[in-house]
Symmetry: C2
Subunit: 546 residues, 2 copies
């Protein structure tokens, strides 16, 4: 096979940061998009609801997008689809469960029936423009995940998606080793592979290790068992259902996303639970506590989730009661450790026993650890590696692992979002940079909230505000009335009572001395406040002459 | 020995949360205080500099405090001493290095020479009011740490302080097993023991495991090695110095706290570095990169630390250069994971290689893991256990370990700060609750920033502010001029240009229709902004009639 032309690999998301994965492959006039994910905001992204990739590169190329392939149904791979479909009207290809999860998502965003969705199966080959794509099954923490072999005129690309090599997956369908070996035989120009767990030594345990841990919890729990996990963790639902049946309990799914996803997964046959085992929350509340399993969201301590509300005593449908056992079946997403820890402490305070991944194997990662990453490299034997899906530290470490298995340093390309990489005549090289940041979504604003606004919010949050309104006679420049002063987030209301008169006197003195510019007053008040409190609230002064 | 009277154990800090440890022991009219630490704010404590224990219980009892014993020189045990000494003028007892670190701290807070400091040694016995205190050596990540055997008329208390059972500590001085066994022989009424690592299985590795890891870094680093750790980690300084000498490099301490502490520790003989090995930063900058080791703060990614500034390119004295190796020699303090991860990514972006605890054993914990906690229980054989030093989750888990080694459930008391526990006639029981929260320190304010202020800051940070000032003619109630509108942290400046005229028109219309109350205008503007943007900035309206 002679490799001709130039393939451009455009990382729109998923390189150098986690959680909003999106890659574009461009050959001449045709573009294939793989995944369109979202991520939740970091702690310093004040007020932001969530983050999506920056689509700017595609703005004038929407017509050239021939298809969108989604590797699996997690939020960090499907979350930005509604936004992307606002720009691009290309067909979306996904396996049945992934498609089901996309449909649930689209329905909630007013896109029901409007997207051109196509069901594909692992093992199938689809032609999308010049790209002949072979989908192969991979294990991950959700069923029906696929990786992609992308045959392009410039060479064969293997895109792993999120994967692990689970020898005993819950659905008994291991990662497709034969296909990977076949790719190797045909010659792989570039492997793009999941770097998430590059820092973890050894092998990621099989999902099966959760079974005995769940078994022990349900065996010993003196009352209700409340299991929190992600709403898309369909495999976990099956495991909980199996344990529920074994211990002669009944389970209820709680919360809209849990209920919707479970319903869809049962309908499509990905979740096998006999009719009598699932009950409604109301039915569960009437059963003896020792017969109840509730499955809900909130394993990351999100304040608005069910477990988040249970921990603060603000859940409406039910509350924590003595004897409850709460299982947080997930690993903290980086940045969430503190809120999860607070949630655990609060649940203990309310009398629950809490089981979490630090003390029991009630969760395992869905991503390959370093030995698996090396195995993938040895199976696929790619000429080049581009580490994907991870922060820069993970990409760098993945690169180090690749050097250990013999990929020459010059054949490993560690780049961040927006750095275009070109494959031409069997060689990888760096091309131009395109926009590769992230876009904040907040309420109905998409992308309008930038770093300036974020900086102002940080200032506001650090020491609060003080507002001064002074009205002067326009002829005499004398105060017509006392200056009005409002403060928020600066001092307690008792302290404000003593502080405001001091500020008012200062402002009055300045104006009476004939200095009435807003800047002069602002500077004087700032310095007064700093001297008194060693703090720097934002000060706003409005002087009106009437 | 007959146990008489009633000992009151008052947890002022260190139970149910980490980082600001402080315990009071009260017998009749006499109080002994152990430790007075601070902690850094959580991510949701906006604007706060640091946090100290709530001393309110001691406010009317300052005269009754007979002494303050400090177990070791870390911030979470000494940080609140300057605040405590503002209230209590009792003598402070500490081992030489701990005293040295307290002196450095007091000097920086204007207390130099004003405190009544007493040097004590492990192995000594001191009489403080009715308390006969035996100090015994424990291993921790700082030399000269002690635990306490407190003989009281009500029984013998053992207070572990922070400890681990390091068999090969850097200073060759293991934890005093003989003393612990002797306490057991005499009969221990209550053990108060460090719970920090209760969730970690097995044994905490010896500090010595760091030596080969450091060795490898210094052997392979092609240029400068920049090692970040806590300024109080004196043992780590010694290990870095040893590796520096072995690899024929020179080391410089960088940053005030590092320099001060290293100087003090060398003077007192806790740090043994030959003269020629330590150079100034300026000298280091003139040496070939391959001969340089810099030791500085910033292993937690603190933005104002040296490594924090290096990662953002804002350090004045020197910058990251290609070939630098940065070693973060600490474990993330809970809540700091996200900022540490960003710091690592930024250092990689600037061309450094970064070594951190996930990929190399360049740090070990200073706290006992669960097998060590069980060993302590078996050595001391206390009648009762009060788990200390940890979040509620850690205290609960420590209690579970104690049950495993045979302490009956009813003899284990898990409480949080402020819950007084009484020992009387050999039995523990719960007494009243006293204030046990924390006190925010911000600039010169201590404790004045409460939850209300924090909530206002959170509101301000979530969607920003919009300020409206309208001046009306007091006779006609007509606008004298256009309303002034200022916004911060809400929308970008471009969007503000289109939004402000809309708001101004709305305000003008309302006033012209004769509705000029501030509340009417505020509500109308809020609802306008919410309809337009689905967001809720804080809106402040000032209407002045002139």
């Amino acid at each position: 096979m002679s490799n001709t032309g130039k393939l451009r690999i455009i990382p729109i998301g998923g390189l150098g940061e986690v959680g909003k994965n999106m890659m574009a492959y461009e050959y001449e006039n045709d573009i294939l998009i793989v995944d369109a994910g979202m991520m939740f905001p970091d702690n310093d992204m004040l007020g932001i609801d969530y983050i999506i990739p920056d689509f700017e590169y595609l703005l004038d190329k929407a017509e050239r997008v021939r298809g969108i392939i989604i590797t699996h149904g997690h939020e960090d791979h499907i979350g930005a689809i509604p936004h992307l479909l606002g720009l691009v009207s290309a067909p979306v290809y996904a396996t049945p469960l992934t498609r089901g999860l996309i449909e649930v998502k689209l329905a909630r965003n007013g896109f029901a029936g409007k997207a051109d969705l196509h069901t594909v199966q692992a093992g199938e080959m689809i032609q999308i423009g010049p790209f002949q794509v072979e989908l192969f099954h991979v294990c991950h923490s959700i069923p029906d995940a696929v990786g992609l072999g992308i045959n392009t005129p410039a060479g064969l690309i293997v895109h792993s998606g999120d994967y692990k090599f689970d020898q005993t997956p819950v659905d008994n369908w291991p990662t497709d080793f034969a296909k990977l070996a076949e790719f190797a035989k045909r010659g792989v120009a570039v492997l793009l592979a999941d770097s998430t767990n590059a820092e973890r030594p050894g092998w990621t345990p099989s999902e099966r290790v959760i079974d005995p841990a769940l078994d022990e919890v349900l065996e010993n729990a003196p009352g209700r068992v409340i299991i929190a996990t992600f709403a898309s963790l369909i495999a976990r639902m099956q495991q909980v259902a199996n344990a529920t049946m074994k211990h002669k309990r009944k389970m209820a799914f709680v919360g809209m996303s849990m209920v919707d996803n479970a319903k869809m997964a049962r309908k499509l046959g990905y979740l096998d639970i006999p009719e009598g085992t699932v009950v409604s929350l109301d039915e569960a509340k009437n059963l003896p506590a020792r017969q109840v399993v509730l499955m809900c969201t909130g394993s990351q301590g999100e304040p608005s989730s069910i477990v988040g509300r249970l921990s603060t005593g603000t859940n409406r449908q039910f509350e924590i009661q003595a004897g409850d056992t709460v299982v947080l079946s997930s690993h903290p997403i980086p940045g969430n450790e503190e809120i999860i820890s607070k949630t655990i402490n609060r649940l203990f305070q309310r009398g629950a026993n809490v089981i979490y991944d630090a003390i029991s194997p009630i969760h395992v990662s869905g991503h390959a650890s370093s030995e698996e990453q090396k195995l993938l490299l040895n199976l696929v034997r790619p000429k080049h590696l581009i580490p994907i899906h991870g922060e820069l530290r993970h990409l760098k470490h993945h690169a180090a692992l690749a050097r250990q298995v013999g990929i020459p340093e010059e054949n490993i390309v560690v780049v961040e979002n927006g750095q275009v990489v070109e494959l031409s005549e069997g060689k990888l090289s760096l091309a131009e940079r395109v926009p590769g940041g992230y876009v904040f979504v907040e309420g109905q604003s998409i992308g309008e909230i930038g770093k300036d606004v974020m900086r102002e919010r940080e200032q506001l949050s650090r020491s609060g505000i003080l507002l001064i309104t002074a009205t002067l006679d326009k002829y005499s420049n004398r105060l017509l009335k006392e200056p009005e002063i409002i403060t928020r987030g600066f001092v307690s209301s008792e302290d404000a009572e003593t502080m405001i008169p001091v500020v008012r006197k200062k402002v009055t003195d300045i104006i009476n001395s004939g200095l009435d510019s807003e800047k002069t007053i602002t500077d004087a008040v700032k310095s007064l406040l700093y001297n008194e409190s060693k703090r720097k609230p934002m000060v706003f002064v409005t002087v009106t002459k009437a």
